[in-house]
Amino acid sequence: MQTAMLAFRNLSRQKRRSFLLGGAIAFGIMIVTLIDGFAGAFVDNVSENFSNLLAGHVFVEGVEKSPKGRDLEIIRDDAALREAAEAAGIEAKYVSRRSGLQGSLKFAGRTATLAVQGVDFEAETFLAERLALASGSLDDLPRDGIVLPEPIADKLGVEIGDRLLVTTRTYSGQQNVGEFAVAAVIKDPGILGSVSAYAGRDYVNELLDLAPDEYQALSFYLPSLKGMDEAGDRLHAEVSSRLQAFERKAPGAEGGNPVLAMMRGEDEETWTGVKYRVTTLNDALAQVQQIVDVLDVASLVILLVLFLIIMVGITNTFRIIMYERIREIGTMRAVGMQRGQVRGLFLYEALFLALGGAVAGLAVASLVMLGVGLIDFGLDSPLFLILRNGHMSFRLDWARVAGKVAIVAFLTLAAAFFPARSAAKLDPAVALRTAV
């Protein structure tokens, strides 16, 4: 207790030096905290938006080869798929059958590009529960009704009932034009959700040049994230035994996203009729997780590299401190301080330095995150994938922060350990007679 108090006060003896060392520690902590905060929000945002957007965990998409060799997304008849799902024992909470178009919406000279999901609102009752309405209603949706995310509605300056022009392509790639009536506006569901709107599948199919009972993606929303890959494997086995299906790719097998790897494979293949692709949300997010893993490793490496440099400073400083206070050490030893207590005095000082630096670093990082979070990058920013509502967002895992602070405290103590040990080993007579 006494040693701790003395160590704390000793920090204030050379304020400039303490501020420099503490500042270096704070800087290191700040950098890694920013990276961690960014990485944390990155997973959050991307997962949230993907699950919103894709409405499920296990997906089946149908692919046809056009005469020109293009891959066309279509499911013409899903009776065999439903049979396969049953045989595979897929217990989905919800099943959705969706089409989707990529379109450019125009209103009063303003344009917004976004994906429009064609949804069977009567079958997907859960969607109505999940979408938070800002205005309008999902009941009595007109055939050409569209549900827009709030940022897009704001950007276009539309209100409920306004009619929009949409320019798009059919499923086979022909230019097509249509009109939507704004039926509802939903609160911003996150990064990717904010560039995705919902409309009736019948009308979307019409724009895509699909028949009313055709669609593009069958998704199963499982009760939990667990077992998603196994469910995908079982479904794939059952689909393969009944229909044409692409090989499933394991995440990271070809050093990348398994979904993209499957699509690349399809480009080189030729087949006739519809061939099915079975994927999972984990497959789609494989690369997101890889990016996060890279960020995690990067933050640790940066921390270690920065601290290797900082540790040299700490070791040298504590060596200097030992010589500056050598007579004081001799005095304390003479009046009864044990070697261990001298070492403790130095280590406490280092610990306080580390903790003080860590607190300052976390405070500065918080301010930076708050400040950066205020900047509006806009929804059409090229950074949109990592943004939330056009803003950078951060999320800190406190256990991870505590872990980093512990590492920093440990490294600081390690750096101070050898000077502390030298100080403890000083012969009191030598220490007392050394003039500084």
Partner: protein, 236 residues
């Protein structure tokens, strides 16, 4: 039994390829309650001898006995504990801890040991000592706000706080003007009488040697004189 006994104590320091014989076989005894001056010119071995009595340095030969107990075979931990419990130190340049105020400096040694006194008792004792050395109005001040004489008074109170049997003072007046120096020695003398603490101080100042009742005079690492003064009124 003498409180301290030096028996054929020698100390050599390595100096380049040769060595210096700082103390060349010194024997004398110090009795309980002594107010003893180790006198001698600069370089005669005073500091070396005080350091060995104070258990901060080890003799190269011979034995230092504290209360009849030999100390040459003790390890660092035991020596430190013995210093803490039996000895008090006063230094030529005061050696106060700059980040502590007067009261905290005096209290400091109390907080080092394994044994703890009851808080209230300890606080009263610290206050009593500060009163004794005349610094009651300076308790909250740090050493850089004090004069040399005041600093040495703090050091005296600190040396006494663990109620040691022996207080060692290596040239306690060397950094003070002569009037202040004499006051410091008088204060030590008063405490020596009041608390019956044994005081051992070194000096090369003849006027201060006169205040001691036991004098050991050194020259070139050897004892040249060892005598007791019988004073009027010091009897009984």
């Amino acid at each position: 039994m003498s409180i301290i006994e030096l028996s054929e104590v020698r100390k050599t320091y390595p100096l380049g390829k040769t060595e210096v014989q700082a103390v060349k076989g010194v024997s004398f005894r110090i009795e309980r309650g002594d107010f003893i001056s180790i006198a001698g010119p600069s370089g005669s071995g005073k500091t070396t001898i005080l350091n060995m009595i104070g258990l901060v340095d080890r003799p190269s030969g011979g034995e230092v006995l504290i209360e009849g107990k030999p100390t040459s075979k003790l390890g660092d931990r035991e020596l430190t504990t013995l210093r803490h419990e039996t000895l008090g130190f006063i230094f030529q340049s005061f050696n106060l801890i700059p980040v502590l105020n007067v009261r905290e400096n005096v209290e400091f040694p109390l907080l080092l040991g394994a044994k703890r006194q009851p808080r209230k008792e300890a606080a009263e004792w610290v206050d009593f000592l500060i009163e004794e050395v005349g610094l009651s109005d300076w308790k909250g001040h740090r050493s850089n706000e004090l004069s040399g004489g005041q600093r040495q008074r703090v050091a005296i109170a600190r040396a006494l706080v663990t109620k040691p049997k022996i207080v060692l003072a290596d040239e306690p007046t060397a950094n003070l003007d002569s009037a202040t120096g004499e006051q410091i020695i008088e204060l030590m003398k008063k405490i020596n009488r009041d608390l019956e603490t044994t005081f051992i101080f070194s000096t090369h100042d003849a006027k201060i040697v006169d205040i001691a009742d036991h004098v050991v005079r050194l020259r070139d690492g050897l004892v040249t004189e060892n005598f007791r003064r019988e004073r009027a009124g010091a009897e009984a």
